[in-house]
């Protein structure tokens, strides 16, 4: 029944693509369904008629429906790869890899889920199609029936090419309405190479049942709970996986019991003590022996008399989590020395991040472009968001599992599916080291250097943590031989570090300009000699560092005109002319040079000639400038460093960056001159 009552109306097809180009935002209107009466919804939940349409066009399916004419309107959603929240809805993502029983090929599936609030307003979904495993291919979502549970795949009309169809054939969308929230699940098997058998409707049903169950048991926030508890990635090879599930709540519940009042008192006393004393090297021992003590108490306690192994494990984890959360601020980066090491590692990794390529570590470049690689980085970054060692360790394990899967997959592909290869530490460690480099987790040292219950450090997680630790040690101590570099390059890189180090100090303390310009000279050591001379000369003339000048320019930018690239125009209006006589000649020659450069790049010469001649013709200068900008879109539309941070820069970028910069400066001066003459 696709009537207006039960219709979970998505708007008419939205041209999301065009929106993405502008806003990267998709829009889903779910206001229609708010008209569904409560009773109807309840019935619908009971009915539980989730139907899945796998690999068939919705049209066929709906054709069987009595209301086939009422084919619901559709909205195109683009999958995102990051969990994001925006205006009352959140996407979360869950990745699973599994190996099907009858073939050797590994399959990956991703689930995306989104929760809308049913407040009747429009919900907006920010959608990023760049990182989506499906690329920019749209998924259409339509309502199945008024029960609100439905599944859909992409209609034929959208899957124009056969390849598109194949990648979508196993996509699976579930949509369910509950009393106060609406959930949307999109599962995609986008990674797999072969066409997979779609999950049976039964599976889908059980899944939806689960959702409803979760909801009905008051577990509304299940999607957000991940924030509090990192999720362990299901991995294909987790042979030691236990059926143990950590349950902090039940542990806390047990602690509330009156019989354990002595224990809780002890714990509170201890945490209070720790948080009110200065850190000493004895602390780790204290914490460990206290935890051991508490565990002994617990295992001999009435409350846990009939406890199973799992209950005790739960208690151990619970105690640790509780204590560590309480004393987190005391024991995380406890000493100045730790902070020092953290900073040292952080800056070193940031430095290497600019220059080190996968080849430096003999890591295959193919691995680095894999989506799993990015995922592993994300996972590792999460580490610093959690407070307890256990949670941190889960992040590390997840990261390493992903890395391992990545390696296995690539080996599998390389060997042509023959199997028999397994990633060894020889493959694993370099990749992990590279992941550490790319993720540059803040306070890595302190994050690793936790009070972790040593007993749980055996097994995979212990190995992974050790690997992470050694990856960190690698960046701490690596030299040119370890990075396949020659010594001079490496030294230059280290010099870079010194320069950057100095700069940051200068920014903080506002040291003299002279030094600052010197440091800039040092920076551009790498660039061609002529360019450097020019810059040096320029710096001398201006008595100002080039970067500073640029900063001034940027500062002066207020509300840029809609149509025109801003800095240029704003400078014309706002920048007071400075020292123009001095730099005039340089400016002219620079402009001519830049014009020459442009000549090489683009076709239209006239605009540039005009521009030079605009020295004479003031009236036309702005017009000319605009046309110059327009005609040289290749230069001006590709501000590829516009939003870049220092970390994004690589050594090889310096040349092009400097070139662009010089061009901008020359144009800037040109404009200044004109303003002055005006």
């Amino acid at each position: 029944m696709m009537n207006s009552d039960g219709h979970c109306a998505f708007d008419e097809p939205l041209d999301v693509k065009s929106k993405i180009q502008i806003l990267r935002k998709g829009e889903v209107d779910i206001s229609g369904k708010s008209s569904v009466s409560l009773s109807q919804r309840e019935t619908s939940i009971k009915q539980q008629q989730p139907l899945s349409i796998f690999g068939t066009s919705p049209k066929n399916d709906f054709g069987n429906n009595e209301d086939s004419e009422n084919i619901p309107s559709q909205v195109r959603l683009y999958l995102i790869s990051q969990p994001i929240t925006y205006s009352g809805c959140a996407w979360t993502q869950d990745e699973k890899s599994y190996r099907s029983s009858n073939d050797q090929q590994r399959k990956f599936s991703r689930s995306y889920s989104m929760v809308f609030d049913n407040d009747g307003d429009k919900d907006f979904v920010t959608i990023d199609n760049v990182n989506s495993p499906l690329g920019s291919k749209p998924i259409s979502i339509s309502t199945r029936n008024h029960s609100g549970s439905f599944s859909s795949s992409v209609p034929n009309s959208l899957s124009g090419s056969s390849s598109l169809e194949e990648s979508f054939i196993s996509d699976h969308v579930e949509y369910s309405i509950n009393e106060d929230e609406t959930k949307l699940f999109i599962r995609t098997n986008g990674f797999e190479k072969t066409k997979s058998k779609a999950p049976t409707p039964k599976e889908t049903e059980s899944r939806i049942n689960q959702i409803i169950d979760n909801h009905n048991t008051g577990n509304d926030n299940q999607l957000f709970e991940k924030k509090a508890e990192p999720k362990e990635t299901t991995s294909a090879f987790n042979s030691e996986k236990k059926d143990y599930k950590f349950d902090f709540k039940s542990f806390l519940q047990k602690l509330k019991d009156k019989s354990v009042v002595q224990l809780t008192r002890d714990i509170k006393k201890f945490t209070f003590e720790i948080s009110n004393t200065d850190y000493t090297p004895e602390h780790p021992h204290k914490v460990q022996s206290f935890l051991a003590h508490i565990m002994r108490e617990i295992s001999s306690h009435e409350q846990w008399k009939n406890a199973t192994e799992q209950d005790l494990m739960n208690a151990r984890e619970g105690i640790e989590k509780y204590v560590m959360t309480k004393i987190y601020s005391k024991v995380f980066s406890p000493t100045l020395e730790d902070i020092e090491i953290d900073n040292q590692i952080g800056s070193r990794i940031a430095l290497f991040k600019r220059v080190v390529t996968p080849a430096n570590l003999d890591v295959s470049a193919r691995l680095v472009t894999d989506p799993l690689f990015q995922k592993a980085i994300e996972e590792l970054k999460k580490m610093s968001f959690y407070k307890t060692p256990r949670d941190k360790l889960i992040c590390v394990s997840n990261c390493c599992h992903l890395t391992m899967n990545l390696l296995k997959r690539s080996m599998h592909e390389q060997s042509g599916g023959s199997g028999g290869n397994a990633p060894s530490a020889d493959d694993f460690l370099p990749l992990l080291i590279f992941i550490v480099l790319r993720s540059n987790v803040p306070h890595l040292h302190s994050n690793i250097n936790e009070y972790r219950n040593p007993q749980s450090l055996e097994g995979h997680s212990g190995y992974f943590l050790t690997s992470l630790e050694s990856a960190m040690a690698f960046w701490q101590g690596c030299d040119h031989t370890m990075l396949n570099m020659d010594e001079t390059t490496f030294q230059q890189m280290i010099n870079f570090e010194d320069v950057f180090g100095k700069e940051s100090v200068q920014h903080a303390t506002g040291e003299s300009k002279q030094q600052s310009s010197n440091s800039h000279i040092a920076i551009i050591k790498e660039v061609p000699k002529e360019a450097m001379n020019e810059i040096t000369e320029y710096v001398k003339k201006e008595e100002k560092s080039p970067e500073k000048l640029l900063l001034d320019t940027v500062d002066s930018v207020k509300t840029p005109d809609e149509t025109i690239m801003s800095p240029i125009m704003e400078c014309e209006i706002q920048s007071p002319p400075k020292q123009l006589e001095e730099s005039d000649s340089l400016s002219k020659s620079s402009i001519e040079e830049s014009v020459k450069n442009c000549n090489n790049k683009t076709t239209t010469d006239e605009a540039r000639v005009d521009m030079v001649s605009s020295h004479v013709n003031h009236d036309k200068k702005w017009e000319n400038l605009v046309s110059f900008v327009k005609n040289n879109e290749t230069i001006f539309n590709e501000f590829k460093f516009e939003n870049a941070t220092a970390e994004d820069l690589r050594l090889k970028d310096v040349n092009s960056l400097l070139e662009d910069y010089k061009q901008m400066v020359s144009i800037l001066k040109h404009i200044k001159n004109q303003t002055n003459e005006n």
Partner: protein, 236 residues
């Protein structure tokens, strides 16, 4: 005394000596073929029975490339045994193995049980390292030596068994309280605290500060005494 024991064994050896295939061979002898999907060679755990003693072995693979050499100490701290792998057709790998042995002895003293295995013993033709030479060296450093072949499945499980047996013997000769768990409980998990794992077993022998590790700045190996915990429950 029949408590379940758990030992950590590190695999050391240069990249091309066949550590991976050795590990894989070791696993394959244990697991079903169905479980192949779970295979990965970096870390493996395996229960074996030696005599009437059940032992859980954790085998830690290490990266063999020269450039990661300095990271070794991080991996082999707390290790009960080390399996050093070299390739009998490649003298260099044997020399690398020797440096590892020296390092292990420096850092961990006699507390780590070492077995040296020459892999690829099926390729006698291209042999570069003679058995006598290897045996002699092994004896001089208090290690056992075995010739193995992962390809021909020769001596693979035996080498692990041999190592385990000797670890057990070693533990048996050590006064109580030397259980590794008790030590580990007092070791702060850190790059600083590579401590304690050896001391109680051989009170007279203090681990020598590891000079090699100084290449990795910030990784200092201290020989601080482990805190004598009054923790009587070393084995759960």
């Amino acid at each position: 005394m029949n408590n379940k024991k758990s030992f950590k064994i590190v695999l050391l050896g240069e990249g091309r000596v066949g550590k991976t295939s050795l590990t894989l061979r070791f696993i394959k002898d244990v697991f079903d073929d169905n479980q192949q999907s779970t295979i990965q060679a970096t870390y493996l755990q395996k229960d074996i029975i030696v005599g009437n003693q059940q032992v859980t072995l954790s085998v830690w693979d290490t990266a063999g490339q020269e450039r990661f050499h300095a990271l070794g100490p991080i991996y082999y701290r707390n290790a009960d045994g080390a399996l050093l792998v070299y390739d009998i057709t490649d003298q260099d790998t044997f020399d690398r193995a020797k440096t590892w042995v020296m390092e292990l002895r420096k850092v961990l003293g006699d507390d780590i049980v070492i077995t040296i295995v020459g892999n690829k013993c099926d390729m006698i033709k291209h042999r570069q390292v003679s058995e006598e030479q290897a045996l002699e060296y092994a004896q001089s450093v208090g290690a056992n030596h075995l010739l193995v072949s992962a390809k021909a499945n020769k001596n693979v499980a035996e080498s692990f068994l041999d190592l385990t047996k000797r670890i057990l013997e070693k533990k048996a000769n050590t006064p109580m309280g030397g259980s590794p768990q008790a030590h580990r409980a007092s070791v702060r998990m850190s790059t600083r605290g590579v401590s304690g794992l050896t001391i109680q077993e051989n009170p007279n022998q203090k681990p020598v500060n590891n000079r090699i590790s100084s290449r990795v700045s910030g990784l200092t190996i201290t020989d601080e005494e482990p805190k004598k915990t009054d923790n009587g429950t070393c084995c759960k």
